[in-house]
């Protein structure tokens, strides 16, 4: 960078008058100190501390006892933990394979619609995104109430019987997934929309002259050129989905039974309801590893294809 060569030359200069122009070498550290120390104290250190705790058996009321990696083995044998892995995977799959295509589809449609309708629609889609999770969970809990919630009322018009959306173990997870998709579709849609608007129209024109069909246009022009945006949407959605907590905690609290007991909820309950700090920390480390692994997989997979 120009600025530093300028200054380092000056710092080395013997000419006292020029030396006064340069800045004190400790200044940059002063600038980054508050932010950096916060990240280390509030994120890095607790992480390392967590890794330590995971090697102990610590019910808080008693002193910790060292048990090495026993927690990690115990956790792998815990049926509730394994169940939470499955439930979380189910949730993540729902967000990725239903939520993302839905937002892409809506972006494509919105891209084709004229100005004012698009702006108003965009605002409408965004209101669930900016509304708090607690509000949304509470409102949907009311809507999905069995048997007199309004969702069942709507169903009765189509002749379908009332469902226990959040009370039926077979439906609960699907309901939670649906609510989250409803909330987040606007977010991904906006990002896709921005990406779509970056695709030069001339590509489509040229392809149409060559006789390309709508589907070919999508597959060979739109999709490849959306790659960087898609990558972000995929990764961001996945990571966020693995960390789901608030909606589940409020709407179902893991139930009925264990049908919605996702990983973060289980960690929270193990630590703060069952007071098993060591075990919970081990589970948290597992979560971290899973997220890292899945993210790396995604990055690797998306990098294998070139884009123009």
């Amino acid at each position: 960078m120009k600025i530093s060569t300028f200054n380092s030359n000056i710092l080395q200069s013997k000419n006292r008058r020029w030396r006064k122009v340069a800045y004190h070498p400790l200044i940059p550290y002063a600038f980054i100190l508050p932010a950096f120390s916060w990240f280390m104290v509030v994120r890095m250190f607790p992480f390392i501390f967590s890794a330590f705790i995971s090697l102990y058996r610590w019910p808080i009321i008693q002193a910790p006892t060292y048990i090495g990696i026993d927690n990690y083995i115990l956790v792998l044998r815990d049926p509730v933990f394994l169940n939470s892995l499955v439930k979380t995977a189910h949730y993540v799959a729902g967000q990725i394979f239903i939520g993302i295509p839905l937002s892409l589809g809506l972006a494509l449609i919105l891209n084709a619609v004229a100005g004012p309708i698009r702006t108003v629609a965009r605002t409408c889609f965004f209101i669930p995104v900016v509304t708090g999770l607690a509000v949304i969970a509470v409102v949907w809990m009311w809507i999905l109430e069995f048997p007199y919630g309004i969702m069942n009322y709507v169903l009765s018009f189509v002749g379908l019987p009332a469902q226990g959306w959040l009370r039926d173990p077979k439906l609960a997870m699907h309901s939670v997934i649906g609510v989250s998709i409803w909330k987040n579709v606007g977010f991904n849609m906006i990002i896709f929309l921005a990406g779509l608007q970056g695709v030069p129209y001339v590509y489509y024109e040229a392809a149409k002259i060559d006789g390309a069909s709508g589907w070919q246009l999508f597959k060979n022009i739109t999709l490849p050129l959306l790659k960087p945006v898609s990558m972000f949407v995929f990764i961001y959605t996945t990571i966020g989905a693995f960390k789901v907590f608030a909606q589940v905690y409020i709407m179902t609290d893991g139930g009925p039974g264990d049908s919605t007991r996702v990983l973060v909820l289980h960690i929270y309950q193990t630590a703060f309801s069952f007071l098993k700090m060591g075990k919970a920390s081990a589970m948290a480390i597992y979560l971290l590893l899973i997220i890292l692994f899945v993210t790396l997989l995604q990055i690797k997979y998306m990098r294998t294809e070139r884009y123009y």
């Binding site: 600025i3 916060w38 084709a112 409102v139 809507i143």
Partner: protein, 275 residues
């Protein structure tokens, strides 16, 4: 994109329908909030209220203590916004415009922490906060929200685009480094600061996992915590109060959003396009 004649109608219909699906739950929320209890619990839902009462709102605000929850959330959110905007600007500027030993390493270290899920830090954080005697205090709630990796990134990105010449010129004119920061950099990056402020505010207002852990008394609850506990206590009964509380909870953030849409959307698009 070419709009085909037959497609045009369908597209518009789809857009309008989806937009309505996005808003419908909120209409139902407000509709429930202004009904007397018997109407709320009627077997056949009454879509448009026949009798209107604002009592649920008054009850939620007063008896259910939401006024206090609002105050708490405000204090926490504003503090978080201030610290995040200020210190991450300092940091973003430092990383963007200075060269110093270990710059990349420090940055990588921060980057690494962004990958950590909240779950991995909450247990130790709780123990640390407990040792400091900060459980159930404002500091305790605010500290884990004080900064934002997103803010640091976006500000650094933006600041790196500020022309070096401006900084050189100020330096030659004899300005101290901090003066350069306050009088040259900060005014130039106002749009980003606005985005950061809004995003941080919204994220702080909405946070649940940490506040639920660190708050133990009724007086210190933030709005999401209050809403959660209210729904647990009053499940199956006072839905109109619950919906009134929910409506109240939505107001600040949605107001911010409607007024400041541009910045929020730009912030999200920026993070998406730059990856």
């Amino acid at each position: 994109m070419r709009i085909r004649k037959i497609g045009w109608m369908t597209f518009n219909v789809v857009v309008v329908c989806s937009a309505l699906i996005m808003l419908a739950p909120f209409f139902w929320m407000v509709s429930t909030a202004i009904k007397p209890l018997e109407d709320v619990l009627s077997k056949v839902p009454i879509l448009i209220p026949e009798r209107i009462t604002f009592e649920p709102f008054l009850l939620a605000w007063g008896a259910a203590n939401f006024a206090r929850y609002y105050l708490n959330s405000m204090i926490v959110a504003l503090a978080a916004v201030f610290t995040a905007t200020f210190f991450c600007s300092l940091g973003g500027y430092g990383f963007a415009k200075y060269e110093f030993a270990g710059r990349e390493i420090f940055f990588m270290a921060i980057l690494a922490t962004l990958m950590l899920p909240e779950s991995v830090t909450i247990i130790p954080l709780f123990l640390m906060v407990k040792t400091a005697g900060w459980v159930n205090t404002y500091q305790g709630i605010i500290i884990p929200q004080m900064m934002s990796g997103f803010a640091l990134f976006i500000i650094r990105q933006f600041v790196s685009r500020v022309p070096d010449e401006m900084i050189h010129a100020a330096r030659i004119d004899g300005a101290s480094e901090f003066r350069i920061f306050f009088q040259v950099i900060l005014p130039t990056i106002k749009p980003v600061l606005a985005t950061v402020a809004i995003v941080t505010f919204m994220s702080s207002w909405d946070s649940l996992l940490w506040p639920i852990i660190v708050i133990s008394s009724k007086e210190m609850r933030t709005v999401p915590v209050g809403l959660t506990i209210f729904s647990e206590e009053h499940a199956l009964i006072n839905y109109n109060q619950l919906m009134a509380a929910a409506t109240l909870s939505m107001v600040p953030v949605v107001t911010f959003f409607v007024i400041l849409q541009r910045y929020i959307v730009r912030g999200i698009v920026m993070s998406g396009l730059k990856g």
